[in-house]
């Protein structure tokens, strides 16, 4: 057999090692990021949705749509129908503003980023519209804006929130199922709900550590 630098065996070995390495990298790479502890809030803001009060009226969905000038049928909030034949209820899902967001990990251009205050935003000018973040969000909280060709999602109505106000969805909630407040104020309703353990993150097993959104689901 001729002597050559890359024998069949070596080549196969390289290929297998390489593929194992890359596959291992695939397993290790995403989800690497800030591992927020369950006790320390990573955001001064909290939006708690009390599903025991939510009637599924959809006012939050529509308020969000109008506020953000979205077309008919599109909103940053969507409702999941839950329950069985005895009890039906709605679970309103929007961007959870995670401390460890998969969307930011998979975005190839750094368009999606996490602010210091834990709010996750999209820098439209960097987004190429590959839609990887939309696929990667385990809450399916993102939508694609066909007109501008970019990904889009709940931005917590930051302009109102920074001015001391509340997001549109919270304002619109008729049964008062949405509670918004500051976690750095121990007397706020949100702080007390979080401290009591009644407000819990949605799907904590995803490892995303939602920093702003949590839910009251009882019974």
């Amino acid at each position: 057999m001729e002597k050559h630098l890359l024998s069949r065996r070596r080549f196969l070995g390289l290929a297998l090692t390489g593929s194992a390495a890359v596959a291992l990298g695939a397993r290790l790479a995403p989800g690497g990021g800030i591992q927020a502890s369950d006790e320390t809030p990573t955001s001064p803001y909290a939006l708690i949705i009390d599903t025991t009060k939510c009637t599924g009226c959809g006012a939050c969905i529509e308020a969000c749509r109008l506020r953000n000038h979205l077309p008919e049928g599109q909103s940053y909030i969507h409702g999941l129908l839950k329950g069985d034949e005895h009890v039906r209820w709605y679970l309103m899902v929007q961007c959870q503003h995670c401390a460890n967001p998969p969307c930011a990990t998979v975005c190839p251009t750094h368009a999606t980023y996490v602010r210091q205050d834990g709010v996750v935003l999209i820098n439209e000018k960097l987004c190429v519209g590959c839609r990887y973040c939309i696929v990667a969000c385990p809450y399916q909280a993102r939508i694609f804006d066909e007109e501008r060709g970019v990904a889009d999602k709940c931005w917590l109505c930051l302009d109102w929130v920074l001015g001391g106000g509340v997001p549109a969805c919270v304002q619109a909630c008729i049964p008062g199922a949405r509670i918004f407040g500051r976690t750095d104020d121990p007397n706020s309703a949100v702080s007390q709900l979080i401290a009591s353990g009644r407000a819990q993150p949605f799907h904590p097993e995803f490892g995303t550590h939602p920093a702003v959104l949590s839910y009251i689901i009882e019974g």
């Binding site: 001729e2 050559h4 630098l5 890359l6 069949r8 080549f11 390289l14 290929a15 390489g18 593929s19 194992a20 890359v22 596959a23 291992l24 990298g25 695939a26 397993r27 790479a29 995403p30 989800g31 690497g32 990021g33 999941l80 899902v93 998969p102 990990t105 998979v106 975005c107 190839p108 251009t109 750094h110 368009a111 439209e124 960097l126 987004c127 190429v128 519209g129 590959c130 839609r131 990887y132 939309i134 696929v135 990667a136 969000c137 385990p138 809450y139 399916q140 694609f144 804006d145 066909e146 501008r148 060709g149 970019v150 799907h203 097993e205 995803f206 490892g207």
Partner: protein, 323 residues
Amino acid sequence: MQTVWGWLPAIYLFLGGLGAGAFLVAAVIELTNKRYEFDFCAITLVGATIPGPVIALGAVILIFDLGAGLREPWRIAYMLTHFTSAMTWGVWILSLFIPLSFLYGFLEVMDTYPSAWGWVKSRKWARKLTFLHRLPVRRVKRIVARVGSVFAVGTAIYTGVLLSAVGPAMPFWSTWVLPFIPLPILPFLFLVSALSTGVGVTVDVAATLVAPDVYQYIRRLPLIHLAIIGIETLLLGFLLITAFLQGGAAAASARDIVIGPHSIVFWVLIVIPGFVYPFIVHAYAAGLGRHSPASGLGSGIGIVVSGLFLRYLIIVSGIPAVL
């Protein structure tokens, strides 16, 4: 059903795999010194010239599938910056692999047709480039084959990593190899699928059409083909079985594929043309030492079609975890 990514991503992932697989076939024949054992090898010629245009076409389709990136193309440069994203890895790998593939194709053509190389060297602009006249085409080609092979494997694997990296969002895509092996199976499945489509287009189609006597020189060809199909069958089987065992959204996806709304595409456009038929053809060929031109072509085309629909089916069968 997953509706965010549809046909265009399926096509460019498929083209990436096809080009990578074809490159690897040519590179393996070159690096195992089979290339010059007979005067003319259609396999390496096709395997070397197809990847460049095919993967470039895939990249064009990827760009066309973008939203804002299509209208403001300079944004595509930003895609090179975020190394936690499998998409960034892909853009890097393709950016390097595409020129390498074109180079490999060029070198293979020049090596196969010395008169063409003579023509190039005789051009006015080429006469001034003295290094061209001393260029050892075969040696450079072997270097390109080695370096390119690493990128080819990377291209084939990254297409699987792209999907499996979304982790809990799409449980079917992040299905493990086996319930007790914590590695996603898609990168491996897509690597072998890429190899299979590469062998299909080079050996089955090209060799059947142009050099059917290649079987006399590479007697193990049918066995290699059978081995690849066999491994791919195992991996596809593991994907579906492990997904079933995982339960939840992954099991729902697997059910949709095997017995649900996607089952016709699965059995008629993937399993039969890409696995069953080529297996029969090459099992016969292993015994007889050759196969008829029709079955060779049929097997090759079947494998390529199957590869495309496999990517498409896996993409659209994804069911989000949160529903």
